[in-house]
Amino acid sequence: MAEKTFIKDFTKIPKDVKASQKINRVSLTYSQGVIRTLKQNKAAMISLGFILFIVLVAIFGPIFLPNYQKTDLLHTLEAPGRQHWFGTDDLGRDVLTRLVRGTRTSLIIGFVAETINLVIGTIYGGIAGYLGGKADILMMRVIDVIVSIPQMIIMILLLTVFSGSVGTLLFALCLTGWTGLARLVRGQVLALRENEYAMAAQVLGASKWKVLRTHLLPNTIGPILVNYTMSIPGAIGAEAYLSYLGLGISIPEASWGNLLQLGSNQFPGSLWLFFTPAIVFALTMLAFNLFGDGLRDALDPQMRR
């Protein structure tokens, strides 16, 4: 009936429905998109480069500079020079060698502790958030109890009883460290659980475990990764203050913590002793944060340009 009002001069052009739905943007898989967005972020790429460099130093450095405990009483507290690039300490040990060795110790503590926390926290928080109800309340109260005891007291207590080795430090950091991530994941899952795509999967017959694994956890990855990258320097920092108090890794072993301690003992006489580990420490912290930020943007498809 609408045809009657058409003026004869007009001809109707048939509409190609399929063509009108064409999307011009290049089609990317999920991981291609992530890499592409990450590459566009300069700060994140520089940070990634720095992190990779630090990691490589931690892995291979001690092979080339093995004598981190060798003392040389004739050359104590030497300023940076040709012989010792970063100078020597009060017992004539080469600071660069000790820094390289300390990087290995500190990164092992940072990565291992936070990876353990990541696994425990994600599983615990994911289960609490997904089950909900009484199980959730119970599991969260357990966390509240753990959190109510100051982390530092637990760590100091543990390290006073046991000797300050890497193993003890890891145990002390992981005993309470996973709670923050568990809370985060639980909150995320709780919010996502009400999402219609989780419901749709349930209606399609997916088991609870499958819904959690394929729909809920992948969508919490952004905040988890940001938390992970930001807590690695946190763990390294915890090692630093414990070593500073004489509870962590003690000399002659090397870690960023006891290097800083030594440096501050000699402050302000031999500044290089303090500033070399401090600068490396600060740059590492910054790099992890910037990279985590860039990664979060890249992992979220809606943030892509």
Partner: protein, 325 residues
């Protein structure tokens, strides 16, 4: 309906949620049947329990009382195996096209999800079926590799429809599938649903609050008020001859396309607001706002009863009132 095979038999279904200050009765003693091949429209204001009812049917929620029979078998308590088999027959289309697709999965993966869960064929067969479904709902094959955020609302909703169809269901709960879309797209989706229904012999429970849309698509319409089903009838009967005072008010609020009729339309304005569904008093739910309410209405809750062949109503005074008019 010529060949009346009851697909769903819902008996005295109850669902309440515990809230801080009492009990929220979302679905209260609802009894009705859905016949194979029909579209049962469910209308009511927001918060009246229509979505909860839909979710009860797909077993997202567990009822507090009553029973749901699918093809004569109760589906309230199912073991894991039977529950999974049930999901192959009963599917759902969701309200929010933006929230109902996982942003990390491609359209193809989303459509194949159900097939993977139920192991419907090899990878190649699933791909073929996925492309067939894309075509069926009017999407291009190249869309399979795209992510939901690259699509419009209508396209996303069609993806949701394809996902539900992937497991070859017999029954689909359409939970306000068009309310989040704009009007031109609404018609597209409705026509798609209608076409699929005839092609695939589907049965729908169509939940909506758009009365004219429900009239267009439904074979029978149920009106819900505060968790109770107050009237069930065929759409023409319901729209031309509403019997329940609430339905009368609801229908009178639908604008007429003809301007002359629209001018003459007199809208029944109900007094007050919809009361809170938390700790509702006994008696007819509508009694507080009904101008015909008597003491009996306030004491005794009316149940849904047949008053003519295709008309059911839950009102104590329906006979006497319709004598007067």
């Amino acid at each position: 309906m010529k060949n009346e095979e009851v697909l769903f038999d819902i008996q005295h279904l109850n669902k309440s949620f515990k809230v801080d200050n009492g009990e929220l009765k979302a679905v209260d003693d609802v009894t009705f049947q859905i016949i194979k091949g029909e579209t049962f429209g469910l209308v009511g204001e927001s918060g009246c329990g229509k979505s909860t009812l839909g979710r009860l049917l797909v077993r997202l929620y567990k009822p507090n009382g009553g029973d749901i029979f699918y093809k004569g078998e109760s589906v309230v308590d199912l073991n894991r195996k039977k529950a999974k088999a049930y999901t192959k027959q009963v599917q759902m289309i969701f309200q929010q096209p933006y929230a109902s697709l996982n942003p990390r999965m491609t359209i193809g993966e989303i459509i194949k999800e159900g097939m993977k869960i139920h192991h419907l064929g090899s990878a190649k067969e699933m791909d073929d079926r996925m492309y067939e479904l894309l075509d069926m709902v009017g999407l291009n094959p190249e869309h399979a590799r795209r992510f939901p955020y690259e699509f419009s609302g209508g396209q996303r909703q069609r993806t949701g429809i394809a996902r539900a169809l992937a497991v070859n269901p017999e029954f689909i709960v359409c939970d306000e599938p068009i309310s989040a879309l704009d009007v031109s797209i609404q018609a597209q989706i409705i026509n798609l649903l209608k076409r699929l229904q005839t092609e695939l012999n589907l049965t729908y429970l169509f939940i909506a609050h758009d009365l004219s849309m429900v009239r267009y698509i439904s074979d029978r319409v149920g009106v819900m008020y505060l968790g109770s089903l107050v009237e069930v009838a065929e759409p023409e009967e319901l729209y031309l001859n509403p019997l329940h005072p609430y339905t009368q008010a609801l229908i009178s609020a639908v604008p007429k396309p003809d301007p002359v009729e629209e001018n003459e339309r007199s809208q029944i304005v109900l007094e007050g607001d919809v009361p809170s569904p938390i700790n509702t008093p006994k008696g007819c739910k509508f009694a507080g706002r009904c101008k015909y309410a008597t003491d009996r209405c306030r004491q005794e809750s009316p149940s849904l009863r047949k008053i003519s062949d295709n008309h059911m109503i839950a009102c104590h005074r329906v006979e006497e009132l319709n004598h007067f008019e």
